[in-house]
Assembly symmetry: C2
Amino acid sequence: MNDTFLKACRGEKVDYTPVWMMRQAGRYLPEYQKVRSKLTFLELCKTPELAAEVTIQPVDILGVDAAILFSDILIPLEAMGLTLEFHEKIGPVFPNPVRDRQAVERLIIPDPDEHLNFVLETIRILRRELAQKVPLIGFAGAPFTLATYLIEGGSSKFFFDTKKMMFAEPELYSSLLEKITDCTTVYLKAQAAAGAQALQIFDSWAGVLAPGDFARCALPYVQRIIADLRKSTDVPIIYFANNGATLLDLSKTSGADVLGLDWRVDIAKAVEQLGPDVSVQGNLDPIALLLPEKDLRARVAKILAGGSKARGHICNLGHGIHQFTPPAQAKIFIDAVHELSRKTS
Amino acid sequence: MNDTFLKACRGEKVDYTPVWMMRQAGRYLPEYQKVRSKLTFLELCKTPELAAEVTIQPVDILGVDAAILFSDILIPLEAMGLTLEFHEKIGPVFPNPVRDRQAVERLIIPDPDEHLNFVLETIRILRRELAQKVPLIGFAGAPFTLATYLIEGGSSKFFFDTKKMMFAEPELYSSLLEKITDCTTVYLKAQAAAGAQALQIFDSWAGVLAPGDFARCALPYVQRIIADLRKSTDVPIIYFANNGATLLDLSKTSGADVLGLDWRVDIAKAVEQLGPDVSVQGNLDPIALLLPEKDLRARVAKILAGGSKARGHICNLGHGIHQFTPPAQAKIFIDAVHELSRKTS
């Protein structure tokens, strides 16, 4: 198996910089669209053979160095007892938002073997099918990010209700976050036990918080999850606080092996700021994949140069690949990372 | 007239820290809602007497130290020859997005006296009515931000089409930006000539750009506008690159007297980074206005302490006030800034 990705996570020596792309199993690939056309997004998440198939597609088509489980961060929230719907164009919707004590108390901590077995089964299939290929990354949403969906009832622009609870009802907020934290911990433990070889925690909305609020209302829950995971597994853990340029020093205390960087950050500066104890992942602007080949390669070279000073660097986009990206452009990116990093390593 | 705001912009000594709030003339005020209920948003922008009335409301009701013209950054784009609609819940819509050479060539550079006279008339009314009160801020959108609305046809989540043009059709992109820059320059000059005593340039979407792209594709147009304005007016200029934590060093080269800070930034760190040549404006999370009074005042004290090291500090929110904010909470904020800054100055 190509274990370059795992080595870079741990800061071990590699022959070239490993690369994968957030949302690499997704709509920009015609092969994905073909599978997806037969069933809904949620059905695809819950059909292990097909979820495994689309997970492997970018490995075979693009030559990425890691596979990431095809799923969604909201899947375990449904298992907490909530109705979850995906509406075309609108995105995810929780028709019954969690905004009071009663709603928090109704939430259950799901038993992954019972309520989320389709995820674990997907992981087991993938470990067999990826055995000669690349490592498999499992994942979950970070508690703050998951809480925003529950409180807002879906995606949000200003996160008014989330922050309102955080600011005006701090005890209710923390009781909700604690429950999500417990759920996420057992869920990630189960993923590792089923065979996930690395775990990424997506804090997609961390960047809407001022640093002090992040430190008080988001980070402690991530720290607790990671500390708990360390007791039962030694798989590398990646923490990605999206839009988190001002949260880097705090994110470093999360306990993660790898910190994800979004594209707003100058990777060279971030590496200097973070020091030698952590690897980094990122951070091309996903839409910069549309650059002409020469310019795209130049941009990759710059990111590789910035990442080369880190303990370890996993090249990636700074956010999920956009659905209208031509796969050929993604291939230029992946190939450029491999080729240019071999030259300089 | 209370000129504390203007003094802080220029870094002159003040007796207390001046404060105003982005979107302070807006939907959170029942007095605004009453005026607005009689006509559409665009009609309100184009009715000088009423636009002036809502501009003054927060001055009288809350005691802010500056008034900002009630208008919208998209107003001059309509005057460039485009259809602009405001849809409830969706926001602004340009039914005919600007995505090719022909569309760019069709754009006109409006004569403010002819096409935007309602704005200038509003400013003239306001200068009379505010004469014994506070200074009046005029404003415009920054070229990159304005371009996103034209190219996307409205608000956007990923700015795919904007970045696509930027990355794949750089000449088309720059010809569009140059035209918007020319329009914005004459528009801001006209505002200053009509009596605006400070000018703010809102780069609401600057934060979706990687620093290198901001430096190449957004900042130069802002620099050009400010340099041109300096030739004919000495009013203070505020540049606000929203979500721009990683763009601060670059923003400092914009030529502005004051840099706006969004709430993601630690103001003390930003001031240290920016040095003694520029004033700062910001930066409370607007939704932190929902904090209990004691906590809100503590947060204001922290921002004042951070801002006190700057050449000048204008207290403000880090983004526009949210429509569901109780005015009484906004009043606590304004009063706390005045009271706490008098103690320490």
